[in-house]
């Protein structure tokens, strides 16, 4: 049972444009959501997070939006840069099991110069 889904396996974007990565979840008990970025042969690195009490969190070029009623979150990258090319995972967790992250399958983002 896939509780966190990233339905787009890949996304290709031109440099300077906006990248939008989507994530859907089914477990209404999730109260904290995270995005991780992963380069080949490296572990995932934390990018940005959002609590379920918010609907938006912004950090530089990265913004995460949360729509609880739709059980949907998205990551916007503006402007996209070639160095953003990586696999992006969304993840979620519930209180009090803070240690247990549930991940989506990942989306491969390619930003073309």
């Amino acid at each position: 049972d896939q509780q966190v889904k990233q339905n787009s396996p890949s996304l290709s974007v031109q440099e300077g444009r906006i990248s939008i990565l989507n994530c859907d979840y089914t477990n209404s008990m999730f109260d904290y959501f995270l995005w991780y970025k992963k380069y080949p042969a490296e572990g995932p690195t934390f990018l940005i997070s959002i609590s379920s009490i918010k609907d938006k969190n912004e950090d530089g070029r990265f913004t995460v939006f949360l729509n609880k009623s739709a059980k949907h979150l998205s990551l916007h990258i503006v402007p996209s840069q070639p160095g953003d090319s990586a696999v992006y995972f969304c993840a979620a967790r519930t209180s009090p099991s803070y240690g247990k992250l549930t991940f989506g399958q990942g989306t491969i983002l390619t930003v073309h110069p």
């Binding site: 240690g99 247990k100 399958q105």
Partner: protein
């Protein structure tokens, strides 16, 4: 400072053999996590340790899997009688604590191939 390190980086083993994977967390991190990523899939939670509390083993897929942690340092993940479906990248992460906003820092992973 040094990040999370894992060894070996690659391991090829024959079906039925036992394997041990090692994780060295960031110094001072009290929480340690193990995940695995099968080909084309997301990361799958296996187990986590927090200080002296009993570990959360709810993600271990079978009793062939076990993990130990020495104090707040090194952890080993042991897979007994390996099967081909155990082939995956095994990732370790650590965090300062276990609070809702504590970021997990991941190691590069161990790629396990069972032939």
């Amino acid at each position: 400072g040094a990040g999370v390190s894992q060894s070996p980086s690659n391991k090829v083993t024959e079906k039925g053999k036992d394997v041990e994977l090692r994780c060295d967390p960031i110094s001072g991190h009290t929480a340690l996590y193990w995940y695995r990523q099968r080909l084309g899939q997301g990361l799958e939670f296996l187990i986590y340790f927090q200080g002296n509390s009993a570990p959360d083993k709810s993600g271990l897929p079978s009793d062939r899997f076990s993990a130990e942690r020495t104090g707040e340092s090194v952890s080993t993940l042991t897979i007994q009688r390996t099967q081909q479906e155990d082939s995956a990248v095994y990732l370790c992460a650590s965090s300062v604590g276990q609070g809702i906003s504590y970021e997990q820092y991941f190691g590069p992973g161990t790629r396990l191939t069972v032939t």
